[in-house]
Symmetry: D2
């Protein structure tokens, strides 16, 4: 099941043309991923500070389809598409009303922050991510 996060386009997000400066989309994306994990039962604070687990992004691709403007409210949809032992590929889409502004895919890796290397997902996270996989992935890159 996809996770949906809503965020307004703030003054801090836009550039001289009044549209979102694209690196800000990725700050929004990261906030959406934070809330997604919190919804899976693991907030980033305890994950990073207590369990010393990070979730760095190792791959990202994005197509910017339409500008987003100051005052738009963006619906960011996240859908896992492949859950590995220590990684998770997910699709993302940013929509403002009926307009799709941005879509793409990212890959997170589960990282041991002290050992500074990848490690398996904690079982509870892996199970939650797998449970969120869509039943039909045939058109996952559409």
């Amino acid at each position: 099941m996809p996770f949906v996060h809503h965020t307004p386009v703030r003054f801090a997000h836009v550039d001289a043309a009044g549209i979102v400066f694209y690196p800000r989309f990725f700050e929004m994306l990261n906030a959406a991923v934070e809330d997604w994990f919190a919804g899976l039962g693991r907030d980033f604070r305890s994950l990073h500070l207590d369990d010393r687990i990070g979730t760095p992004t190792v791959r990202l691709e994005a197509d910017f389809l339409a500008p987003a403007m100051l005052g738009d409210v963006l619906a960011i949809t996240l859908t896992p598409v492949k859950v590995g032992t220590s990684s998770c590929a997910y699709r993302f889409a940013f929509a403002s009303g009926d307009t799709l502004c941005l879509k793409g895919e990212g890959v997170l890796v589960c990282m041991d922050l002290d050992a500074k290397r990848s490690r398996p997902w904690p079982e509870a996270i892996a199970a939650s991510l797998r449970a969120a996989l869509p039943s039909d992935l045939d058109n996952r890159m559409a």
Copy 2:
């Protein structure tokens, strides 16, 4: 009456010590001011793009009293303390639970974005700001 805005401390806000990097507090402050004005009936989008009115900050002072950490939810309280023809001084405070993290004062100016000079507040905004002045301002800098 003070305006209160809540914001979580995101991964994007913290530094290598795991606490909010102080320029990020001012991004949060600006978001709070945006929502304050929207609550007064003037969203930043129509204010900036339709009416070509900006509200730049011309003075700011802040005391950082306690660190805010990843995962804290900050309550940002805004209280106007002086409403002039084309300016507004306001107090702000950021609290995480019972801990006051940051307090200070800012001054906004109403600006004509095309003429690039200050202009009087639109009457409706001035009236709303004045209506929000606390009844007792004697201890406003306390």
Copy 3:
């Protein structure tokens, strides 16, 4: 000929793990593109404000290969790989010493900021971009 831009990893760029928070890489990338265009004879100020031309990114892909840390000095290399009538695809690579931290490809579009649609590159920019194409593009996605 590739363009190389150097930037230090600042306190503002790193996260709670002490490594660059990935949206900050794209702020750095945008700064590198600014300096690249300035080196081609067109600074972003005159391009945006005088000529009302923007260069939004319409596609981006990136592989994050190694973390970059506070105090690293990153060499960002930009190489155009395809110059169209109103677009430019370019490769980028971020290296810290001998370590390749990040590589990817972006696509810029030349945009008329007033008409809000794409337009052909000004001829001088197109000529400069084409002149910077590497002579051998066979392995451009390597």
Copy 4:
């Protein structure tokens, strides 16, 4: 002796009005402080990561006198005005050519990142900061 740091106004710094969004001034200020400390012999990387010393800002005041625009090159001047056992007050000024855009004062505190409390400056830093105090401080708040 004042320390001077130069920084261009980037696309990432400006808002919908084409002028620097004020929280970005504080990111620039922090970068200037980083280079100041590096010039005093202590880079932030070794200070934070090896010696586990932070330098959080505990007080800040700023007057925004003139807008800074995309493409401006800002000269940021830092001058210590009071060096305490574990704190340092400093003045800052941002100028674009002959135009003073921003001036203010900040207070840094030397912090033990593990004990999470203030600590005395390392002697070498204290000596360098004191050596940089201007000989005449009578008009330091002018």
